[in-house]
């Protein structure tokens, strides 16, 4: 049974990675990151259930808390980005180009 949970988790994670890599809208990128976090959570919970241990649950709760904090921060950044350029296309923000 555990394989299915883990497969789903990996699938979700890969979708998140794909989203981060391929999408240009900052919001979508952000949502993809959330997706990756939840994929990881799913893995944690599944393995915790398998081993009958609370560690995975604790970690999953921790990830949720971090994700919430990150969401607050990231949304503030998104607002600033929009104020700065009036657009949320990630390709506009390329100051690090060598």
């Amino acid at each position: 049974m555990i394989e299915h949970y883990l497969s789903l988790s990996v699938l979700l994670f890969c979708l998140g990675v794909l989203g981060v890599i391929s999408r240009r809208n900052v919001f979508v990128v952000f949502m993809s990151i959330e997706l990756m976090l939840n994929a990881a959570n799913l893995g944690f919970v599944a393995v915790a259930r398998l081993h009958q241990s609370m560690d995975g649950h604790v970690l999953a709760l921790m990830v949720m808390a971090v994700a919430a904090a990150e969401a607050a921060l990231a949304l503030a950044v998104v607002i600033l980005l929009h104020k700065h350029k009036g657009n949320l296309d990630t390709n506009i923000f390329s100051l690090l180009k060598g």
Binding site: V20, I21, S22, R24, N91, S94, L95, K97, G98
Partner: protein
Amino acid sequence: MEGNLSSLGFIPLLPLAGALVLGLMHLATCRGRLISERIYALVGCIGPILSFLLAVNVFFALQALPAQSRFLSHQAFTWFSVGELTISMGFLADPLSVLMLLFVTLVGSLIHVYSIGYMAGDPAFGKFFSYLNLFLGSMLILVLGDGPLVMFVGWEGVGLCSYLLISYYSEDRGNVVAGNKAFIVNRIGDFGFVLGMSFLFWGIGAEGFDYLSLKANAHLLAPTLGITVCLLLFVGATGKSAQIPLYVWLPDAMAGPTPVSALIHAATMVTAGVYMVARFSFLYAQVEVAGLVVAWIGIMTALLGAIFGMFQNDIKKILAYSTVSQLGYMFAGVGVAAYSAGIFHVFTHAFFKALLFLGAGSVILALHHRQDIWQMGGLKNKLPITYWTMLIGALALAGCPPFSGFFSKDEILYSALAGGHTGIWAIGVLVAGMTAYYTFRLIFVVFHGQPRDREVYDHAHESPKVMTLPLIVLAVGALFAGFLNLPAIFGGHQQVSHWLAPSLTEVHPHGSMATEVLAIGGSVLAFVVGISIAYRRFAGGAEQPVFTGFRKFAYHKFYVDELYDTVLVRPYRFVGQAVQRVIEPYVTDGPVRAAAWLYRMAGLAFKVIQVGYVRVYAIYMVIGLSVMSLVLSQSLNF
């Protein structure tokens, strides 16, 4: 045997604190002058005067002790401690250092007071007093230090202040060059001093590196090492005290303000070398050869300075060469092991030479910064106080009995004669005659005869009281200081020599009555001949002569500056340029540049992957993490 006196530390500390306060005040207000000169002057003078009072106090404290145990010391703090060697910032007051202390603080204080008048209206009034205080503090460290290392701190400090004050009017390039010259030439001498100190430490320093320990261990020093140490230390002295071959900086040092010339380049700093030799008298007394070298270099410098002094036209240059010449006398004195005579000449010289320089400053100020004696003349009536005080100074310098210079100079010449150094004595007498000649050439041309420049003469006026008062005090010193060391033939007891005896290792030569009379007769005769030639040539108002032949050669100082320039400076500069053009770009800079080029190329190569899109960086991260996970899973054998 030794007493402790904590007030010793305050003597150098007070002027140093003054320098700090004045410097901060000047820095805080250098844009827009908010502090009046009166406050600067008050702060500037208070440190030296308090130091002088403390010095007097120390003198009486020493006098209360029995003659052979007149040593007071104070260990302020441990300077550094390496292995078994511990050097503390210690101060030692013994008869020698207290004598130096007294006249350094007295003359220093007087010159500070004089400077209030001389520097009035200067835009950097506070800076000047700050430097002057710093100088005095360094000089007091030099004099009071209880070992060669502490002395060296002061030694370098006075060198620095000399540099700062020579280039004080730094808008003029020539002054800056003169300051650099003084500093660099002094560094050459200091190198010798450091080497000498190192050898001394290597020889006998392990048991303690202060004068008292060194003196106790001096007999352990191997003879060859002793000669090396003495000569190397003397190299330091030739730099600081302007002896052959390093005397060239002193005449150029006259670029600084006149009080500086009086304080640093006549009365105090330049005598540091003589003080140092007297300080190490326990070493020099052991190796006669080193003493002879010192004496001969000294007397040749005296001769050379006198020759140059006879043909100068700048009032300060004449005095500068006379300083070189008198310093030569002092070295001749300490060289023939008449340490107390040499130090006594330092003492009297401080009074009359400071007096002459300050008088010259008064003349220069009265004539609105004109220094050529051939533009002066007949100033006797316009500047009466300056004239009479300078006359006293000139008589003292020329060695007229009973002025102070006569006794001290005679003491040196007598010691040379009694010690069997007839050659040194003969040159010394010759130089005494030349000294009388050029000193009175100056007095007659400047103060007697008719004014050569009527307009300048009409605008001349006597200096303010704040400047004439120090002149009068110094004139009293120049007049009477000689009586402190009256030899037995005049019914005196040589108090200064007896006072100095515990600090010095010297044997007083016992010449016959005839020797003494010969020495005195020679000095007086030289004085009379010198002054009468000067009187015949210049008293009636001579015109500026055109120098030809030997005189021109002497006027150009034997072209020694040019010689040094050709033989030393230019080749050195050539080598420097060669290094700059060949070795630096291709040998030392090559690898450095190559490394820089390599990094730049690497940067250019890796720049390609820095595209700036956040998505691409995410790809990099994914790839990196994947690789890391793969490697990790492989190595953990899952």
